[in-house]
Amino acid sequence: MFDIRKRRWIAAAAITAVGALALSGCSGGSGAGAEKTFDPNEKITLNLTWWGNDDRAAKYGEMVDAFEDKYPNITVDTSFMDYPAYWEKRKTEAAGGGLPDVMQFDWTYVSEFGQNGLLAPLDDFYGDEIDVSSIDENVLSAGEVDGKHVAIPVGTNSWALFQNDRLLGELGVDAYPGGGTWDDYNAYLAEVKKAGDGKVWGGTDYTGRIQFFELWLRQQGKSLFDEDNKPAFTKDDLAEFLNMGEKIRSEGLVVPQKKVEEVKPKSGFGSLLATSEASWDNFGAGYMADSGEKSLSLVAPPALPGAEKDLYLKPAMLIAIGAKTKHPEAAAMLTDFLTTTEKSGEVFGASRGIPVTKAASATLQGADADVVKYEESIAGRIGPAPVPPVGYGSLEQKFLDLGNSIGLGAISVDDFVDQFFNEMDVILN
């Protein structure tokens, strides 16, 4: 530690010598929760930021107006952008020492930012500014890093199989009932393939998604990573899983990857090439917009015989506070307003996942209510949620990438396994 600091000092000195400004970057320490001094008359400005489309911007706008009405002394400045840009900006800010007060957060980044002390611990606010009494302890713990809660989940989602009933009706094929074995699902794929006649398939290649691999591992009582964030599976595990894909691809049971490439940025399911596809259960709105369908149904993904607790509820989105905020109490109040209040349930619906509080999720209607029903239906299969290691997002992307490459015939299963293990080596160390 001393060593690092010294080097940093030398670096800073060297740079000062070159020019004018010392570039010390980075990491923060304390700030939040040291002393509680919220003065209702003090003029406070908070920064609030999120990623999302125009629709979400309108929803946050409504929330901010309501918050400002409730606390006239607080002004909330908002900022929003698309997902990749959002994280590029947050990382730059984190490096440069300027994270916003309140941020929408993604599960895959909680450890990354939390472990480096960039997020304020929220436990100190519990019972005062933040009321977590209505949030399930298991859900809440998803925002935990090193024993402290640094982010509050606002909604959950789970892995699910979407189906297009209208398309299935046209083909005269029965919908997949959900659950069952992988062989059952493959039989369904074969049936749709036959009826689809080279235009419609039963699904897209599921072996290209790390979520399916994880599911398959969990069905055998294994997991992707162990507590030390090391891979908990072997090369043989991965190869065996990928060989399932070889089978369905060679038999033409899934949409050829070639077709999928052509319809990007949409997916095979969103562009009506497939009658089913797995994704997070709250992505229905996106699928509907892509495909123009009025309704889609949700069923449970297939499993290995005897599997249990293979699925899990993942926080779809969280809210966190920057460690260096000047107004920790006010930021905590805004966080509470955006996460646990009835108003937040009303305004956001299921657009940030199924709301974590019962009161909010009970008010959902239409497609949102279907998602609630789905999550209730799989309750028996829900196990503990894993903690994604730092760099999980990159690995997820790499897996998808390699899956596409296999589908295009550019690499073999062995290449996939080698390259993925190499990448894990690079990312996790």
Binding site: L21, G25, G286
Partner: protein
């Protein structure tokens, strides 16, 4: 001495005789004129064919902007099956309470300031490199070329730290300061090349008349490199207009956003992407730069007054 203001009729294989300008038609007569017409016709046809090829993708985008979002990836045709102007209606509504014109005005402001900053500062620096002999010139020139070679992504964070320490986040200063300080080597180097291409005779003559560098710069060099200035203005405007990275890092309030930032907000891969609006907004963003180019490209054809160049 002639003042040639048009640079017509040069360089290309077809046998145009000499620098034929419209004012000075050749006296030889009809055969030449006829041959000229044929050549012109070929010229016209060739360019039209190439234009069609080059414009096809843009026409595709234009027509696609009338497709409902759900048609993308479903129907492959260029024409919408159910054409709609909803995409444009939605785009014109703005985002998150910020009207579209606000983004346009912001972009316009940044682009115009960039043009001013870049042409001023870069031409000065270029003059120094091209026309003034001093010790550090060679070293500085190498350093400047060096700045072209480093990928921008590795300097983003240190640059952000500087501007953050100066308290300039969410202002336009980080977007513009570099432009007024000739930090974009592309433009300096471009102008260096043009200035070096100029004959020195006029500089020398002016110097013998007692003119110093400032006067030579303003009254001789600047007017003569007008094509380079126009070119730089065009690039400065368009690149600033399309720049996404700097606005992303340095602007926070949506009311300060430039158009490219707003453009991306119709695409949210984590929930709903509106491809119709995405394509429509890229057309809306294209229009102002197209108009800008149409206006400015006219200056490109007005050649330079080369009066006195032959001394």
């Amino acid at each position: 001495m002639t003042t040639t203001t048009t640079g017509t009729g040069m360089a290309v294989p077809p046998p145009m005789t000499g620098p034929v300008t419209s004012q000075r038609r050749h006296p030889e007569g009809r055969r030449r004129v006829k041959r000229g017409t044929v050549v012109t016709a070929i010229w016209f046809v060739a360019l039209t064919a190439m234009t069609l090829l080059v414009l096809y993708p843009l026409v595709w985008v234009l027509l696609a902007s009338f497709k409902p979002s759900s048609e993308f990836g479903l129907s492959y045709g260029m024409l919408a099956e159910n054409p709609t102007i909803d995409n444009y209606v939605k785009v014109l509504e703005g985002i998150g309470g910020v009207p579209l014109w606000r983004f346009l005005v912001n972009s316009l402001f940044v682009a115009v300031m960039s043009v001013i900053g870049i042409t001023l500062s870069s031409s000065m620096a270029a003059y120094a490199f091209a026309r003034i002999k001093f010790k550090a010139s060679g070293l500085f020139f190498s350093l400047m070329i060096g700045t072209l070679l480093l990928p921008v992504h590795v300097v983003l964070i240190p640059q952000y730290i500087i501007y953050n320490k100066l308290g300039l986040i969410d202002t336009y200063v980080p977007l513009l300061l570099g432009k007024f300080l000739a930090a974009e080597a592309f433009f300096v180097f471009l102008m260096v090349q043009f200035i070096k291409g100029l004959p020195r005779d006029m500089d020398e003559a002016a110097k013998i008349d007692g003119a110093g560098h400032p006067r030579v710069f303003f009254s001789i060099t600047l007017p003569l490199i007008k094509p380079a200035l126009v070119t730089s203005s065009i690039f400065a405007f368009i690149w600033s207009w399309n720049d996404f990275l700097a606005p992303l890092l340095y602007l926070s309030s949506p009311t300060n956003y430039t158009l490219p930032m707003a453009l991306r907000l119709y695409n949210d891969q984590s929930s709903v992407s509106d491809y119709g609006a995405t394509v429509a907004v890229s057309m809306v963003a294209l229009l102002p730069v197209l108009i800008f180019f149409l206006i400015f490209q006219r200056f490109l054809i007005q050649g330079v007054a080369t009066q006195g160049l032959k001394g």
